[in-house]
């Protein structure tokens, strides 16, 4: 069965449908990770995005019950060159196609994904509609016209937790089945802007008693829980319209140690008086070199963001830039020593991606000590 991707500039890609049937709008982006599609699909930061995988052969190892990063997939569409219907891996449960079907994600395969990626690279990430049910281009154009895109919209509210809960699972080694456990010494309130499970697991394994709270939780409510530290999670979309979260963080700064990742980094940046901007096509992959300016060491990092903190806007605000992306020199991390707050733009929790940056969790623990 056919499926179509229509971009806002009129470019059309026609291929075959897999996964769920349907049609959905979203921002069309690409990810350069060669492994980890299940983690990517379940990362809530991809809410309202149509993901193109640059590696052409996807689905090879199927899906399993351990590698999901949230309760469901929030993506708007998934595009690959060749979907594998016969996965092979000792942990494999259902195939990628079946998984997408179950999660109601529309899949498109058999297109020149490299052409699409180059197009996005040159023109920038753009709105698009993926469809296997409606193939009439004009009708799809109409639909796409009504789709507002991500800028200026709060799409965190679609993915955040409905209520406060505690998290008790540590990181499990999939090869041995053993869980990484540490005595729980620190109470951490964790904002769920669209949090990945592996952040929760790592906090837990580093000795944190994790309380997950909805995005709109106020500073007062947080302080009432008497935590040792606050964690600001990753999440989807534009940070600028998240006034409530920025305000909360402003009210917490200086009172508690704060650690932020990705959207959490951007919210911290905004709370400290900085600004954010949209990158042309973002960073999505597992191979970006990030330099730690404090040590000079380079980490290979997992990335997923379309917006970025403007370092110039933070000048003179007592902020130190700690990390920089070596590919394009964009900001990847900041610290305010005075306010005991730090954050990174990339994903030290990996999943998918390299484990080079897990030391940041230890850094957070030290800050709470």
């Amino acid at each position: 069965m056919k499926a179509i991707l229509l971009l806002e500039d009129g470019m059309v890609f026609e291929g075959n449908s897999f996964g769920a049937e349907g049609q959905k709008c979203g921002e069309v982006v690409f990810n350069t990770s060669m492994t980890g599609y299940q983690e990517i699909l379940t990362d809530p930061s991809y809410n309202e995005q149509i993901i193109t995988m640059t590696y052409p052969l996807i689905g090879n190892y199927g899906t399993n019950s351990e590698d999901s990063e949230s309760r469901k997939s929030f993506v708007s569409g998934f595009i690959v060159k060749e979907n594998c219907p016969y996965p092979s891996n000792w942990r494999s449960g259902i195939s990628l196609g079946e998984y997408l079907q179950k999660n109601n994600v529309v899949g498109l395969e058999g297109i020149d994904t490299r052409k699409l990626v180059k197009h996005i690279r040159t023109k920038g990430a753009m709105r698009g509609i993926i469809s296997s049910t409606e193939l009439n281009i004009n009708k799809l154009k109409e639909k796409l016209r009504d789709y507002p895109g991500l800028v200026g919209r709060d799409i965190v509210k679609d993915v955040t937790a409905g209520k406060t809960y505690s998290w008790n699972d540590g990181v499990v080694n999939v090869l041995t089945g053993s869980e990484w456990k540490t005595e729980k010494k620190y109470k951490v309130v964790t904002f769920d802007f669209g949090i990945k499970h592996n952040i929760l697991r790592l906090l837990c394994s580093h000795g944190c008693e994790v309380q997950v709270v909805p995005a709109a939780t106020s500073a007062k409510e947080v302080l009432r829980l008497k935590p040792d530290g606050v964690f600001l999670s990753n999440g989807p979309g534009d940070p600028a319209p998240l006034g409530y979260a920025i305000e909360t963080v402003q009210n917490l700064l200086g009172k508690l140690p704060i650690f932020g990742i990705c959207l959490g980094h951007q919210i911290l940046g905004l709370a400290l008086g900085g600004q954010t901007y949209k990158l042309k096509f973002g960073h999505r992959g597992a191979n970006h070199p990030v330099k730690n300016l404090l040590t000079g060491a380079v980490e290979i990092t997992s990335q997923n963001h379309g917006f970025c903190v403007d370092v110039d806007s933070l000048k003179g605000k007592g902020i130190e830039v700690t990390h920089v992306n070596l590919n394009d020199n964009t900001n990847e991390g900041i610290i305010s020593k005075k306010l005991s707050a730090f954050s990174v733009q990339y994903h030290p929790e990996a999943s998918p991606g390299p484990h080079d940056s897990q030391y940041l969790f230890e850094q957070f623990i030290k800050l709470m000590n």
Binding site: Y61, R91, K115, L326, H355
Partner: protein
């Protein structure tokens, strides 16, 4: 961190001759290293005995020593050059072992030379198995159960806890030489003994076999600030138990989840840190249990390797170049990514295609050897293919191999085999397993069953199943039903025109036209290290069937160079050398160079070498597509060996401009009848000959010419199935074999010139003028394939008159054939008469050797001639007559194939070559022998056992050896002759005469040099154990009296004076 200021002069040790397990990938890495270090302002001193390498070109390093790679010789170089540093990690196992020896013996300390990249301690931690095992355990990882034995007693203890099946690996050998899997005590004893013998340290590792597990390799880079990146994960198609060099491998890894991959990545990083490889690249191998993901660390190479060359080509990340920069102090973040220019090399490449590497075997050359694949490498080369899917890359790899297979079709195997035989075949570790897997799917075996039999991951199997399913549909579709949609799908799966045409029973050209009419054409995508995330500035391209083409051809003047494809016996690095020179020459004269090749080991497929690189199979279809896209001003076919030559006529027919010597002239030299006429017209001489299509006809010809005769099939390479026969009895089987080998083409029968001297001439011609490049005299007599014979430039025993006439004849032939470029002629001299054996109006195997001997880059000059220049304009109008002697010696793979004979004949068997240069012929020859691993003794016992016709000459040689202090030992007939001539000689029994016999003597280490010549099948058979034992015991031996003469000269020369070293640059002054 910028480059270190304390480094000024760096010594690089190359890997020496091409052997199984050590191919031209080390020329690729070494050349990169020399170039970049020189650019950085360091003085680079290079030692490598292999003249066919680009790295030994005089302009690549500051000082180039084409000398044997032994610790003694390298010490002399160190003494002379006084480098402050040694980079030991670029010359394969040879380079590494030599560096270790120099470090351990204190030479490096004595001369104040530092090891860069990896310290002695780190190298030993990686290379010595017990140390390695302990370190791996210390960092919480696991290795298979194992133990290290230095004796059979120790080995018996170890097997108690390792258990069968067990792998036995001798330490410090190349490409796993001597590695085996033992299933019972008997095999175990045999392999342990053999391994102990082979290991330079008398050490074998005995290891639990994890045959059947999945195999992975990671290429890891580390800088001195401890930044570590993984360049590429590689997954083997073949499971553990087959040497990775003999396995089909795929990049990137296909069937690992991110969790498992990151676990493996973490392990690799821990390992490189624990071993302590300070800077540079390492290769780490893992085994994964397909049932539960359990991970074992198999081994680590603390140096660049075959796999790192593959990973470089597969990703566009130049590992050797970057390793060199890291070694001199740079850090990864300071080095730019050549391809994107804007981003640093400190990242992990991501690719958006699939790469398949496929080994090339030449078992047909060694019919008596066991073809089963094991942990010891047996392949002689490899092809790499890139496609957007595994299926496409797989198909492209099949046709890149040039084994006359274009698909997974059953016609290539005995498809009549029973189901039971098929199952048995699937269990066997054979090189052509994949065709049986395809057949199994045709016979409806399930994926599960095929997996159980082969242990090939179901993901690969199911992809093959997809191919078989589409193949079925193809076979039931008529040409007019091949509409554009179906054809596109078929091409996306990688099916070749050639195969499709065969199925449809039409010509390839007809099918091609149909395809082009439907608009189904390949596009070209870029290898860019980053999955299109950043713009690529390097046109490194591969074809695929997609919608967007990135080739963007320029409108400059441009020439396409067709490469040589995978290395094999008979066609190796020499031809790649010529192609690379063509590219360099075009650059010099401002013409855009476009390289087409599919061999990942080579310098030609470095994206740095040519202006544009197409990593593509060298078939008519693939080359035509490139030509149509690029529209070049010309195509060069005469440099890549037989591979492009075969394409010359079809390409020209299709309207492609072949530059240089015309395809018609090439055909004239190959076509017996036309060539005979030419020789007659020029009033030159050839051995009598005839062509037969039946045995009766052949016999008639044989009787007319008279024995001995040379029988050979037509249309084959490297002397396949060529045989010298002395009587009618052996004639019959030779003719029958020849018919079989040539697919029923006519058989050629030539008068064989017994005991003639063979000469090789390389010359260059611009159509008007001919200049001799070099005249070489073969050390072995005519009848030994020219690629296998040692030779000397200039000749040592040929009269000036004959030489002059040979040159005259060369000129005549070159002009008559209207050669534009290179020509190679083989002559035989018998009784002062000159016979023409063969004319090749193209680059020959000896071009790099001659170029190094005379200091003139012949292939470059030839390229410029093809582009329109004259010899006059190039300033090369007179033959160079060097005062020094250059000796080429061949290197053979016999050690890898137990039980085969080492006698040389008309079929080429050598994998590589070395060169010895000196002002004295004897020393030059001695150097060539040392470099080839046949170091000659200066004292001890020499065994003489020669055929009757050699006895007179043997007497003279024995006398000289005796005078030089050697003790002479001889078998009956020879001994009698020697004693009769008053040469003291000890009698030793032949094999058939009782014990202890000659073989016992050899085994007991009582023989130091063997001169053994034979005549007739009986004597060849009888003396086989002598040669084989000598080989296994690594005792130098010669099998012809001519070679013995050279050996005696060499020993005499070494008695006169010590071997000294001299850089090639000095020879050209």
């Amino acid at each position: 961190m910028p480059k270190r200021k304390d480094i000024k002069k760096i010594l690089i040790i190359g890997s020496g001759p091409i052997v199984i397990g050590q191919g031209c990938e080390f020329d690729y890495s070494g050349t990169q290293a020399c170039k970049v270090l020189k650019q950085e302002g360091f003085k680079v001193v290079l030692v490598n005995s292999n003249p066919a390498t680009i790295m030994t070109d005089p302009e690549i390093a500051d000082r180039t020593y084409i000398e044997p790679i032994t610790p003694e010789i390298v010490e002399k170089i160190i003494q002379k050059e006084r480098p402050d540093s040694l980079l030991p990690t670029l010359g394969g196992q040879t380079g590494l072992n030599t560096a270790v020896a120099l470090a351990e013996s204190g030479v490096l300390k004595k001369y104040g030379v530092r090891l860069l990249g990896a310290s002695l301690q780190a190298i030993k931690k990686a290379e010595e198995r017990d140390k390695f095992k302990k370190i791996i355990g210390d960092i919480g990882l696991e290795v298979p159960r194992s133990g290290c034995a230095h004796s059979w007693q120790q080995a018996q203890e170890i097997i108690k806890y390792v258990g069968f099946p067990a792998i036995i690996r001798p330490s410090y050998t190349l490409g796993g030489t001597g590695g085996n899997i033992a299933n019972n005590v008997e095999e175990y004893k045999r392999y342990v003994d053999w391994g102990l013998d082979l290991s330079p340290k008398t050490e074998v590792l005995i290891e639990q076999s994890v045959a059947g597990w999945k195999e992975y390799e990671l290429e890891v880079m580390r800088d001195r600030k401890d930044n570590v990146v993984i360049v590429c994960p590689i997954e083997n198609f073949d499971p553990m138990g087959i040497h990775t060099g003999d396995s089909i491998t795929v990049a990137p890894a296909q069937t690992l989840t991110d969790k498992e991959y990151q676990w493996m990545r973490d392990a690799a990083i821990k390992i490189i840190r624990a071993i302590g490889v300070e800077t540079g690249g390492s290769n780490i191998q893992f085994a994964v249990n397909p049932e539960n993901g359990k991970l074992y660390v198999i081994e680590m190479n603390p140096r660049v390797s075959r796999s790192s060359a593959l990973a470089s080509k597969a990703t566009g990340f130049p590992i050797a170049k970057i390793a060199s920069l890291l070694a001199v102090g740079y850090t990864l973040d300071e080095i730019p990514n050549d391809i994107t220019k804007k981003t640093p090399a400190c990242f992990e490449p991501t690719i958006d295609y699939c790469v398949v590497k496929w080994p090339r075997f030449t078992f047909e050359k060694f019919p008596n050897t066991n073809q089963e694949l094991t942990v010891q490498m047996k392949s002689v080369g490899e092809a790499m293919a890139i496609g957007r899917t595994f299926k496409e890359a797989l198909h492209k790899a099949v046709r890149s191999l040039e084994i006359n297979r274009f698909s997974l079709d059953k016609k290539y195997i005995n498809s009549e085999l029973s189901l039971a035989q098929l199952r048995k075949k699937l269990r066997t570790r054979c090189w052509d397993k994949i065709w049986y897997v395809a057949e199994a799917f045709r016979r409806k075996l399930s994926t599960d069953e095929i997996f159980a039999l082969t242990k090939i991951d179901p993901w690969f199997l199911n992809n093959i199943h997809d191919i078989v399913k589409l193949e079925k549909k193809i076979k039931s579709t008529a040409l007019d039903k091949f509409d554009s949609d179906f054809l596109r799908q078929v091409k996306e799966y990688g099916f070749s025109d050639k195969y499709l045409a065969t199925v449809l029973n039409i010509s390839e050209e007809q099918f091609r036209k149909h395809r082009l009419r439907l608009g189904v054409e390949p596009v070209y995508k870029t290898v860019d290290t980053c999955g299109a995330e950043f713009e690529a500035h390097t046109p490194y391209l591969y074809s695929t069937f997609e919608s967007e083409c990135e080739a963007n051809p320029t409108d400059k003047r441009k020439i396409v160079i067709l490469g040589g494809g995978p290395n094999r016996i008979g066609q190796g690095i020499e031809f790649d050398y010529c192609c690379v020179h063509a590219s360099f020459a075009l650059k010099e004269i401002g013409i855009e160079s476009i390289m087409v090749n599919c061999n990942p080991e080579t310098v030609s497929t470095d994206y740095d070498t040519s202006d544009r690189l197409y990593f593509e199979p060298l078939t008519y279809e693939d080359v035509m597509s490139i030509v149509e896209k690029e529209k070049p001003d010309g195509v060069i076919v005469q440099f890549g060996g037989q591979t492009p030559l075969k394409l010359a006529v079809p390409l020209e027919k299709a309207g492609v401009k072949i530059i240089g010597t015309s395809p018609d002239s090439i055909a004239c030299a190959e076509d017996r009848k036309r060539f005979n006429n030419l020789v007659k017209k020029l009033e030159l001489r050839q051995p009598d000959s005839g062509t037969a299509t039946t045995y009766d006809k052949a016999l008639k010809i044989a009787r007319k010419i008279g024995f001995p005769l040379l029988v050979r099939p037509s249309y084959v390479l490297g002397g396949r199935a060529m045989k010298i026969v002395y009587d009618e009895k052996s004639f019959e089987s030779a003719v029958r074999n020849a018919f079989e080998a040539s697919d029923e083409h006519p058989v050629l029968i030539d008068q064989f010139l017994d005991d003639a001297t063979e000469m090789d001439v390389d010359a260059i011609c611009d159509g008007k003028r001919v200049v001799i490049g070099g005249v070489m005299e073969h050390i072995e007599e005519a009848g030994v394939h020219s690629g296998d014979s040692a030779c000397s430039l200039p000749p040592v025993s040929i009269s000036e008159k004959i030489l002059k006439d040979i040159k005259r004849q060369t000129r005549l032939l070159a002009l008559a054939l209207k050669v534009k470029g290179l020509i190679n002629i083989q002559f035989a001299i018998k009784d002062d008469k000159i016979y023409i054996l063969e004319v090749n109006p193209r680059a020959s195997r000896t071009i790099p050797f001659v170029s190094k001997a005379i200091g003139v880059p012949l292939a470059k000059l030839a390229t410029k001639i093809m582009a329109g220049a004259t010899l006059d304009e190039l300033g090369f109008t007179e033959e160079i007559k060097p005062k020094h002697f250059s000796v080429k010696e061949a290197v053979f793979p016999f050690l890898k194939f137990p039980g085969i004979d080492t006698l040389l004949g008309p079929e080429m068997l050598s994998t590589g070559e070395v060169m010895g240069i000196d002002d004295d012929f004897g020393i030059a020859f001695a150097k060539s022998q040392i470099a080839a691993g046949n170091g000659l003794p200066m004292s001890g016992n020499v065994l003489f056992s020669v055929k009757d016709s050699d006895k007179k000459k043997a007497v003279e040689l024995a006398r000289q050896m005796n005078e030089m202090g050697f003790r002479i030992v001889a078998t009956k007939g020879t001994c009698l002759e020697l004693v009769n001539n008053n040469i003291p000689s000890e009698f030793v029994l032949k094999m058939s005469e009782g014990r202890p016999n000659v073989v016992d003597w050899i085994i007991n280490g009582k023989i130091d040099l063997i001169v053994n010549s034979t005549a007739g099948a009986q004597s060849v058979g009888d003396s086989f154990p002598i040669r084989r034992t000598a080989l296994d015991k690594q005792i130098p031996y010669v099998t012809s009296i001519r070679a013995a003469i050279a050996v005696v000269k060499a020993v005499a020369a070494m008695k006169r004076r010590k071997i000294s070293v001299k850089p090639v640059q000095k020879y050209y002054d």
